[in-house]
Structure formats: structure tokens, C-alpha cells
Symmetry: C2
Subunit: 255 residues, 2 copies
């Protein structure tokens, strides 16, 4: 039985990612979290803290993919525009919601410290469900097929724990990676093309050169949802390297 | 005199970025390279090694932004689909071109070693100009307002050296960053909103919380193309922190 391919988009929100101030690491975390659930990240966009840009991107992505995962822009300051933009994208209202307020209230027991800024973090679009934040409490939310998470990596990782059970995954794409030293891409290009052709779409092959002080070489990666085809592909890659006089080494199930 | 804002998009191409196998670092390099030239990165997309996806993304981005910078997919193997996709996006032909072949020929002096796979790297869309590759020779190319570069970070950085002189930048947006320890975002949110309102669009303010074993705090960033407005903004941020009982520290001109 062939399972459906389930695809997701990631939407990274924040001026600081575009300016180069901040190096995103959330994409990699999300991709590696989703892969074993049977969800492949198929597209990523990075947009600034500009409501119209967020609305346009999320509406394009949620129509096209099974799921969308956003990070960033749900904090207490004026440059956190994601929650309102998500409400606008879905055409629903947004206000401070009691369940979200209660979470913050428990954190800031002194009522006076739950100030206006902090209450911004309890603004949840109508119809959304909360995503628990085990790190700093202020919740994310799910609206439709869109999961809205914090941008701070430790908080984002925490929120993923409350997302896995909501995902209906499909075929799990696994990968095998073969490393060769002293072999260049151009030496194995033809053989690799042949393997890709022979696999008839069941396996995707990737070739990634590496250069280090110890020399150069290539990592060859096979990806497939078909366990038998993947096993054959890994073996074929080892043989391809050996045919070129190299000593292949399998380097684990990197994604 | 107010200079024009010049905006760019970055298009990162490669299955390995979407799967999480590879952590992109090129975006940050490109953004920091362009900023002093007066070009702001306004949007980023990451797409797989799928021709239709590359074509759709580059056509959307090149119509909307002054420049597009792509990375990845110009090597010798079958999964390198960027050059052909760029030709398709521009509706022009593509073939092995003599100037590009000559560069590779000089590298692989033994003619027999300039095999079919390596010659793929001399496939250049009609009308494109080459981008020199001081690291591994195989060139990138510029077609229209699109700069097509390698994905390997060291090679990509080398190619940028042949791009700066082709860029017509506009207003240079500079930034100032103020760090405060023991002050949370919610304490300065209102004051920050006020500063943003008062600046009337001349300055953009960002707020980025930090958490380390030594404690917590916030980085406040002001960005502006107006030097006087930026100077005032930095001073205002220092005062905002002091008003809340904090000890502000300026942490250099991070982007």
C-alpha cells in the first residue's frame, strides 16, 4: 500500500532573519521533527514583520500544503505582528482570550504585573486552539492547518511537543548517506543519473561535495519512502563508489 | 536627499535545506554583504531541486524585487537543475558556452578529464554574463537582475566578490543595538511602541529577548537609513532602559 505524501511549508517571520542579525535554526529543527511523522517540508519563506507580507505568504502556503508552521512575531512588543496577521489571513476576529489570559495570570500572580504588553501574548484569533509553551508559558496557537510558534529556538522546540499529536502524517521518507573521500562529483555524475533513472521516481538521489583540510569528497544521499528500494539504493551507491576506486563509508541515517 | 530603497530577494535551492540535512548559512552572508551596498533583503524562499518550483519562485521574485540572489544547484550532477530552470524562467536557450568551457578546460588540462558531467557546469543561459569563481573555477552567472551562485558556502562567498561592482544600491540602512540585562520585553514594550510612533517610519525598532545561564534580558535594535534619526534612536533606547532601572550597553553596529 502506498501512503500519501504529506507536505508542509515553513514560514519564518522576522526582520532580524532578513537582515542577517539572526541565523535561523528553527527550519532544521522543524524538518527533523516532522520527517519521522511522515511530513516533508516542501517550501520555506522568510518574510519581515510586515502584516501584509505575512498575510500573503500564509494564505499562499496554507492553500498549497497540508500544513504550515510559522515561527516568530508572537511576543509582547509592537514588532510582534504575527497573531493579528494570522487572524487577518483567516478573516476572523482577534482579542485577548480567557484561556490564554489564565495561563499568563498564573505566571504573573501579581495581577498588576500582567500589563498591557504581556496581555498582547493572550491575543488569539477566533477559532484557534492553543499550543502549550512549556518554556515560558505564553502560548502559540493552531488555526486551521497553520501552527503558529515562537521564534526563540528553545521555546519553539518546546511548542513542537504539543504539535506532534495533531499531525496526520503520510509516508515516512527515510534516507541513507554514503561518504566517499577523494572522489569528485563529476566522476560519479553519470552513474548517479543512471541510478535515478532506474529507480523510476521511487528514490531521489542527491550529491553533496565536501572539502576539509584532510581533502575532498562527496556525500551521496538516497531518499525514499520505500524501504526495499532505499536498501537497494544504498547498496548501489556503495558499488558506484567502489567502481570508481573509492572506499565508501555509510555515515548513518542522516536526513 | 532621500535615496531610493533597493530591495533584494534570496532564493535558496536544494532538497538538502528542506530536509534539514544542511543548515543554510548563505542567507546571512548575502544579507551582510548587501547591507553596506545599500540593498536590503526583503524576502527569502527555499525551494527543492524541482525545475517548476525554481522557475515559479524566480519569476515571482525577479518581478517584485530589484535583485534576486540564488544559491545551489549549479554543480555537475543530475540533481543540479538551477541553470536549466533559470533559462526556462527567462524563456531563453541554454547550452555549453565557450567562455565557460574555456575556464573549465584551463582547470582540467587533460582534455579527457573535462567529461560530460563537468561540462554541465559550462551550461549557461543565452544572454547571461559569467560570475567568476575564485575557489573552484566553475562559474556562476548573472541573467537580468538574477545572480546565480553555488551553494557551497566557501564558493558562494568567493562569487560575491564578482557581484558587488554590478549592484546599484540605494539608501544604506544601518543599525544600532542596545543590550539590557534583567529587563524583560514586556517592561519596555510600551516605551518602544512610543519611540516607533514618534519616529514616523524613519526608524524601525526591533526587540529580541535573550536567555543565557547568566540570566535574561533583551536586545533592542534600531534600523534606519537616516544617520541623525538613528543616533537619536540609539540614545532614546539607552534612556528607555535606564528609565526601567536597567543598565544599557551598546553592543556594536550589529546589522
Amino acid at each position: 500500500m502506498t501512503q500519501r505524501q504529506v507536505k508542509a511549508a515553513v514560514l519564518l517571520i522576522g526582520d532580524e532573519l532578513l537582515s542577517g542579525r539572526t541565523q535561523d535554526v528553527n527550519l532544521q529543527t522543524i524538518a527533523k521533527f516532522l520527517a519521522p511523522l511522515g511530513v516533508q517540508v516542501a517550501e520555506v519563506r522568510v518574510v519581515p514583520d510586515v502584516p501584509d507580507e505575512i498575510v500573503a505568504a500564509v494564505n499562499a502556503l496554507r492553500a498549497r500544503y497540508d500544513y504550515v508552521f510559522s515561527t516568530g512575531g508572537i511576543g509582547p512588543t509592537h514588532d510582534d505582528k504575527t497573531a493579528d496577521a494570522m487572524a487577518a489571513a483567516f478573516g476572523v476576529g482577534i482579542d485577548v482570550r480567557e484561556d490564554a489570559r489564565a495561563i499568563l495570570q498564573a505566571l504573573y500572580k501579581d495581577t498588576s504585573s500582567l500589563n498591557e504588553a504581556r496581555l498582547r501574548m493572550a491575543r488569539i484569533p477566533d477559532g484557534a486552539s492553543l499550543i502549550a509553551n512549556p518554556v515560558s508559558k505564553a502560548p502559540g496557537f493552531q488555526i486551521g492547518n497553520v501552527f503558529v510558534m515562537a521564534g526563540v529556538p528553545s521555546i519553539m522546540r518546546g511548542m513542537l511537543e504539543d504539535i506532534g499529536h495533531r499531525i496526520e502524517g503520510g509516508a515516512v521518507v527515510r534516507s541513507r548517506t554514503v561518504r566517499a573521500k577523494g572522489i569528485g562529483e563529476s566522476q560519479i555524475a553519470q552513474g548517479l543519473q543512471q541510478l535515478e533513472d532506474d529507480a523510476g521516481g521511487a528514490v531521489a538521489f542527491g550529491s553533496y561535495p565536501w572539502f576539509t583540510p584532510e581533502g575532498f569528497g562527496v556525500h551521496l544521499v538516497a531518499r525514499s519512502a520505500d524501504a526495499a528500494a532505499l536498501e537497494k539504493a544504498a547498496s548501489d551507491l556503495m558499488n558506484l563508489i567502489r567502481d570508481k576506486g573509492g572506499q565508501p563509508e555509510e555515515v548513518g541515517e542522516a536526513t
